[in-house]
Amino acid sequence: MNPLLRIEDLHVDIPGAAGVLRALRGVSLTVNEGETFALVGESGCGKSLTAMAALGLLPRAARMRAGRLALDGQDLTRFSQRRWNALRATQVAAIFQEPMTALNPVLTIGRQMTEAYVQHGLGSETEARRRASELLERVGVLPVGRRLAQYPHQMSGGLRQRVMIAMALMCRPRLMIADEPTTALDVTTQVEILRLLQELQRDTGMALLLITHDLGVVAHVAERMAVMYAGEVVETGPVAQVVTQPAHPYTAALLRCLPVQATRDRPLVPIPGVVPALFGPLEGCAFRNRCALAGEDCAGSIPWRERAGQGYRCLRDEVPA
């Protein structure tokens, strides 16, 4: 497996009125060529911010430092705005949760799909039109001729997400970053979009960094995953291992509070308490105030540990599932 996206020790601070928010605190992860890697966690854990850093789209006020941020060997930490633009047009594409806000409401689908392609000199207007038509056909936005002339509001949520995917594919990306791409969709539409993404990956060999809070989606489409909590990766490993034998108490707690069909008699166990505020330095394990296994030793520094392909940041050896 060749690493495509490598993030090592990524820190992002966001200064604000209430102080400096330490939004990302040493995130490391690697997405290999062609694989689906899921980044999982609850609101505010930093999963979207991690993706934004990999896209060069951090908020203006954010201060970033990273041991490494590299795509296919290119050091992104030294990229100028112009090189980021070129990278996003040719190698990395992104789709987001709400296609209605990601699409421009006053431009036709055809215009939006071809604009960047032409601007970055990937081909002529005619070639861009042809590619847009092919891709809409491929993702099932039919009839293509009529759809190209339509505006986003004339389509359903599922269709708009298909348009976003087609648009993301215009420039043949090697990595697609999908931030909660199916969260706003109905369950049946969600399955359709996930199937489409899988097929497109098979066809094009692109890698997918899937950001989601939904462990059911992760289990069905991703090969490897990382679980984030309070700006840190707390566990990473193959999906089949992480969701069946979580090594970090937070992963285990997330699985215990998830309602799953046909398990009505298994009690749901809510996670007590709230996520700590990320202002100022945070000592020890960020999850310890909500963790049933926490002891005094959890207030000290917690090493990153590895076991059977899983990496995790926890002192405990046994985590009840």
């Binding site: 609850e42 109905d186 199937r195 899988q198 059911g216 489409v221 069909q261 009505r264 166990v269």
Partner: protein, 273 residues
């Protein structure tokens, strides 16, 4: 005995925008919807967006009017109840606790308002009830004079539930009450619903697109598709063997966190034309 809530053959359509001439066409949103909800039960309504779930909730809440059919609360047409009597009987909890709470009022004011409107309580009694309700839904007393903006999403939804319960309504209409919440917070709110059912004998119409949530909370399930209830039945029976093709599709489309399974087939053969 009358069911607490009965919807009888309700039809409702929204007009499309009219042209210069002509009357535009009407889009049917509820088509001959009938349901019964007995005291103490939770009826879960599932279905995809646009199936009419929220329209049904808004109809029961008198926010919309049916073209034909009736909504009965304890045998009485809900349109015949005075606003005060209706508010005392039926209360809503909506999906988004960020938009359903007035940002300019403190928790104390938000929770007191239903009692002020009901009119039967002196100030001292209102305050006592507000404090008791905070405890009941698991909100600390120190938040009494906080504004919604100072609360987390889960805390806000607790406030919305508390507000709905202040007048001890007989029926709660919940439209996707956990859908905007993180799963760890959702579990807290579902647990709260369990406790409230036990303590208050709550009767509840609970709308959700999440079947796993409905399976946990509902005694009965109704499936809506294109404005119709295409299947309804006792919860366990329904989940053990859904009869309607759309119910089966819905059930097979939910993705449990179990690795190694392929994505399900979600074709709709009945829609092929």
């Amino acid at each position: 005995m009358n069911p607490l809530l009965e919807v009888r053959n309700a039809n409702l359509s929204f007009p499309t925008r009219r042209g210069l001439f002509g009357r535009g066409t009407a889009v049917p949103v509820l088509r001959d919807v009938s349901l019964r909800l007995e005291t103490g039960q939770v009826l879960g309504i599932v279905g995809e967006s646009g199936s009419g779930k929220s329209t049904l909730a808004r109809l029961v809440l008198r926010l919309l009017k049916a073209d034909s059919g009736a909504v009965l609360i304890d045998g009485q047409d809900h349109r015949d109840l005075s606003p005060r009597a209706f508010a005392a009987a039926v209360q809503p909890v909506f999906q988004d606790p960020y938009s359903s709470l007035n940002p300019k009022r403190t928790l104390a004011q938000i929770l007191e308002m239903p009692l002020v409107l009901a009119g039967d309580f002196v100030a001292e009694e209102r305050r006592t009830r507000v404090r008791a309700m905070l405890d009941r839904v698991g909100l600390p007393q120190r938040l009494l004079h906080s504004y919604p903006a100072q609360l987390s999403g889960g805390q806000r939804q607790r406030v919305a539930i508390a507000r709905a319960l202040m007048v001890r309504p007989r029926l709660l209409i919940c439209d996707e009450p956990t859908s905007a919440l993180d799963v760890s917070v959702q579990a807290q709110i579902l647990q709260l619903f369990d406790e409230l059912r036990r303590d208050f004998g709550l009767t509840c119409l609970f709308i959700s697109h999440n079947l796993a949530v409905i399976e946990r909370i509902a005694d009965r399930v109704g499936v809506m598709y294109r404005g119709q209830i295409v299947e309804d039945g006792e919860g366990r029976t329904f989940f053990a063997g859904p009869q309607h093709a759309y119910s089966r599709l819905l059930l097979s489309s939910t993705l449990p966190p179990i690795p190694g399974r392929p994505l399900p087939d979600v074709a709709r053969p009945w829609d092929a034309n």
